[in-house]
């Protein structure tokens, strides 16, 4: 078993995300994370980033199955080479007194930004690799973690190569 981060460049048309998700549920593949947004200036193409797990044979299957969808331009397995993965999280922490001060100190150590505050709460914005976000959330739990919203993984290959 291995984890794979796969980028899929698709025609930005209605139903394309349903095709991708339906393929995963219909064939019993895992989705650990999925993000999608238009990436062309004219909005004609979207990029879907999927983090999945499976044996080497299953991951090869996933890529081939994605590639045969009619509106798919390109499937790229970023885990085959050096690449960058980032996620963004918005994190609400409730508390007063020492816990509140501790939350702020930890946030500072992780370079999380305060984007909203009341006398009883902070909302942090944190960007980083998935494991960094996980570590931060683990630390926030005892000091009043109340709510999390994460974007899922966006990823891109290192170096001069592009998906097209």
């Amino acid at each position: 078993m291995r984890s794979a981060t796969i980028s899929v460049l698709v025609e930005n048309e209605s139903g394309v995300l349903a095709r991708v998700i339906g393929l995963f549920s219909g064939r019993g593949y895992n989705i650990d994370s999925l993000t999608v947004a238009p990436v062309e200036r004219d909005g004609s193409k979207s990029r879907i980033t999927i983090v999945t797990q499976g044996t080497e044979m299953v991951i090869e299957q996933i890529k081939a199955q994605l590639d045969r969808l009619v509106p798919v331009y390109k499937v790229l397995d970023l885990t085959e080479g050096p690449h960058l993965s980032r996620e963004l999280a918005l994190i609400k922490v409730l508390g007063t007194g020492e816990k509140r001060a501790e939350a702020l100190r930890l946030a500072d150590a992780f370079r999380a930004r305060v984007i909203d505050a009341t006398t009883e709460s902070f909302t942090f914005e944190l960007t980083g690799a998935t494991d960094k976000l996980d570590a931060f959330l683990d630390l926030m739990r005892p000091v009043g973690l109340a709510e999390v919203s994460r974007t899922g993984v966006a990823a891109i290959a290192r170096g001069v190569g592009t998906i097209e």
């Binding site: 209605s14 299957q61 081939a64 199955q65 045969r68 009619v70 798919v72």
Partner: protein, 597 residues
């Protein structure tokens, strides 16, 4: 398909634009059933004569008929159904076509765009429902897109690995004016199937094949889909190499059954020699087959000692269930051309001695005569189903005969005992295993080949699943012959219950069957019955002599089973042979095997 600037001609209605696009795509026949949402298309059909519409009795049958049409002609089949139940009834046919890679375009009506999502009368989320049932589907929301989408649908259906495509058409799009453009020969933006093989893979394949001592060619439906020329080249390649060749259920006819190098069908009910050759070979060349579970048996014991070459147009078929050594992505025709050229160019000399030894071994397996059965010739003896098929085959030999089947024991007996020499003459539901496929498929074949002999080899249970199509046969004077092997059981279910479930025949007896002779007559057809072996040849001769649809009710041995059989979860070398053979026994099936279908 897009990006080209072409002068558009405004048509009075979307429906007219659609018919013009269908004509440009070479459509001469539509199988369909009208309803509220598609009335504008039916109105346009009424006002022209170039496209013939065949009115079926149920939308599922429209799709199977289009499959029969497509598989017997190599053209794209065309279906027209209404919204809601029209579309949902078509779904079984669409999945059938998807599993067996049959090119179809199915036009479905839809409620007008402003009502979509309102739970309107006869509204269904057709693109949602058919997304996993099709190769691709479209919902046309703008008149400007209409004609481009129709042309694109045909392109997607027929190219690459063929398959069904749905175009969902809201009624307001059909009524309002729409621009018409001719199909543009421009590459699709994202869809570009690969057909030409990588020459390096061809070289690797030939290097393995030249050094093979125990080779086997395992040919699948991809050969048929690549056109009759691919079948011709398959035969050329098999003859020039001297290799043995086995065909899948889907590929029967791709290699001539009468050829000495043919091992018969392989798989769960394949011949002894085909399955043993697959198990013991040292190099396997799979062209256009997909290592289906009916073919491989237990995966970890499948052909354990062989190097495997897999030729497929669909990369997702490669390494899906069986890991292969050389994968060649491409169209079977292009690959066969390349293989033949590379075989001639490669200087390596074949080990003809080893090949001769391999053939000796194959002849030992052949001498088992695994399809043997005994038919009593005593007056009044019961008919063996295998004998019925053999007699039918003998009586039709030399004629241009197309055979369809339903699903079950009769289907396997037809595959085993009817011999096919040419591609596109055998139409059966392989992947999905759809009971009720054969009669409508035969209808579609007969429409495409009005003068040919078209036979649906059926079971008494399957035939009832689309029996309403007898009305269509009558209306269009389609002289389809329905040859029912009537054993009063859902035979394959009964066989599995006997072998795997302690002979507890739960719900598999065909209680309260109709009188098929009277049923035929009530549908303006001819009904015949053979109850004893003495009746059989006369009934077959009468059936073939009549220029009308016929139901021939052939009453056969109720307890006959299909052999050889590889039980679920067993490897090829643990094949069961029939009662004629020594060592015939009930299968030892593992718990894991019991869970398999």
């Amino acid at each position: 398909m897009d990006g080209t600037i072409q002068a558009a001609e405004m048509m009075n209605s979307g429906a007219e634009a659609i018919l013009r696009a269908l004509k440009a795509q070479g459509v001469d026949t539509i199988f369909g059933y009208p309803g509220g949402a598609v009335l504008p298309i039916y109105d346009a059909i009424f006002q022209q004569n170039e496209i013939r519409h065949i009115l079926v009795r149920h939308e599922q049958a429209a799709v199977h008929a289009a499959e029969g049409y497509a598989r017997s002609t190599g053209k794209v089949g065309c279906v027209l159904v209404t919204s809601g139940p029209g579309a949902t009834n078509a779904v079984t046919g669409l999945v059938d076509a998807l599993m067996d890679s049959v090119p179809l375009v199915c036009l479905t009506g839809q409620v007008p765009t402003h009502l979509i999502g309102n739970d309107a009368f006869q509204e269904a989320d057709t693109t949602g429902i058919t997304r996993p049932a099709t190769k691709h589907n479209y919902l046309v929301k703008r008149a400007d897109d209409l004609v481009r989408v129709i042309h694109e649908a045909f392109h997607v259906a027929r190219t690459g690995r063929p398959g069904p495509v749905v175009v969902d058409l809201p009624k307001d799009i059909l009524i309002g004016p729409a621009p018409y453009r001719e199909p543009a020969h421009v590459q699709h933006r994202s869809y570009r199937p690969r057909t030409e093989p990588d020459p390096r893979r061809i070289e690797e394949a030939v290097a393995l094949l030249k050094r093979a001592r125990r080779p086997v060619v395992y040919a699948g439906g991809g050969i048929i889909n690549a056109g009759p020329e691919a079948s011709r080249l398959l035969a050329e390649f098999v003859r020039m190499t001297g290799f043995p060749c086995t065909n899948t259920l889907m590929a029967l006819g791709a290699f001539p059954a009468s050829d000495g190098q043919f091992l018969g069908m392989l798989g769960m009910h394949g011949t002894y020699e085909a399955n043993w050759a697959m198990h013991d070979c040292d190099v396997m060349l799979n062209i256009g087959a997909r290592f289906d579970d009916r073919v491989t048996g237990r995966l970890n014991a499948f052909s354990p000692g062989s190097k495997k070459i897999h030729v497929d147009i669909d990369p997702s078929n490669v390494n899906k269930s069986v890991a292969v050594d050389v994968a060649v992505i491409g169209d079977a025709l292009a690959v066969l051309k390349a293989l033949i050229a590379a075989w001639k160019q490669d200087g390596t000399v074949q080990d003809r001695g080893a090949l001769a030894q391999w053939w000796q071994q194959i002849d030992v397996w052949r001498s088992k005569n695994s399809l043997r059965y005994t038919q009593s010739r005593d007056t009044g003896a019961i008919i063996k189903p295998q004998y019925a098929i053999e007699q039918l085959y003998k009586a039709t030999r030399g004629r241009d005969t197309y055979v369809t089947t339903e699903v079950g024991q009769h289907q396997m007996w037809a595959a085993q005992y009817f011999k096919f020499e040419k591609p596109n003459h055998w139409m059966t539901s392989g992947g999905l295993g759809t009971m009720g496929y054969g009669l409508p498929a035969a209808m579609g074949v007969q429409v495409a080949h009005p003068d040919a002999l078209v036979i649906d080899i059926a079971g008494e249970a399957s035939i009832l699943m689309n029996i309403q199509e007898m009305g269509t046969l009558a209306q269009y004077r389609l002289p389809v012959k329905i040859f029912i092997l009537n054993n009063r059981y859902m035979g394959m279910v009964r066989q599995w219950q006997e072998l795997l479930h302690g002979s507890r025949y739960s719900q598999s007896y065909s209680e309260a069957l109709p009188d098929f002779v009277k049923l035929a007559e009530s549908f303006h057809a001819v009904g015949l019955r053979a109850e004893k072996v003495d009746d059989l040849d006369r009934v077959i001769a009468e059936m073939l002599a009549v220029d009308k649809p016929v139901i021939a009710d052939i009453c056969v041995d109720e307890k006959e089973n299909v052999f050889p059989m590889i039980p679920s979860g067993a490897p090829h070398n643990e094949m069961l042979l029939g009662p004629e053979h020594k060592g015939h026994d009930k299968p030892g099936v593992t718990d894991a095997g019991m869970a398999l279908v």
